[in-house]
Symmetry: C3
Subunit: 100 residues, 3 copies
Amino acid sequence: MTLHTRKLLTIVSEAALESALIKQIELLGASGYTVSDVRGNGNHGMRDAAWPASSNIRIEVICEELVAEAIAHYVQEHYYENYAMVLFLSDVQVLRSVKF
Amino acid sequence: MTLHTRKLLTIVSEAALESALIKQIELLGASGYTVSDVRGNGNHGMRDAAWPASSNIRIEVICEELVAEAIAHYVQEHYYENYAMVLFLSDVQVLRSVKF
Amino acid sequence: MTLHTRKLLTIVSEAALESALIKQIELLGASGYTVSDVRGNGNHGMRDAAWPASSNIRIEVICEELVAEAIAHYVQEHYYENYAMVLFLSDVQVLRSVKF
């Protein structure tokens, strides 16, 4: 079984940004993504204080390192200063390199 | 505090496969798993286009490397060609080795 | 783009522990956390057998290694023997070190 190293990029943000972020993630070269509803608290205050518990999202993308860096750079430039948002990267091993 | 390295195996698939995958994961030696409902888009087209948003799942398993490889091999052989599915592995540190 | 290494600490536990764990996580120095509802099965038996499917939670924290170890140590001392609970750590890269 051959494993290939890819990047797992994770974004936790306000749910209102979901469609805009997904659109940009696909434009920047990702071939897929997973979204889940989360709740949380961060630097910008209790994020779910006045919202329903499902109003934050986690977006996960597995991709080549260059695509991950392009997405991270875009998010940093366009959202990171003004939105409650966390972005992080980690290394994962995938079965088929062609999928990502 | 002693930490032990284990594999975190993650599968994202159609919700309809949950019970079959869980059964096999346990047969192959995993001592536990976590399931969450997700939505997403991948190589096989927009997975939640015609389904409710909860119709995809993420299964996570922490286990020995050999168990992770056995599960990955099984999934690759039995599901990977015909289902919208992603499988990836990463390294994690756990507190108690006996649990996994 | 400068990336900084931090720890991603993940706890999967009974939902009833959410507020107590969150309170302690913040006391020990974490600047944020994310919670999601999950279901699962582990060493202490089928965790969702008699409960609704949403009665387990996953708490994720990105923090300095020392904070992660303090949280892990606290959880191990206070909860690990008597509750269905999993805790694991992994390395992630974040965009801005000041956030965590």
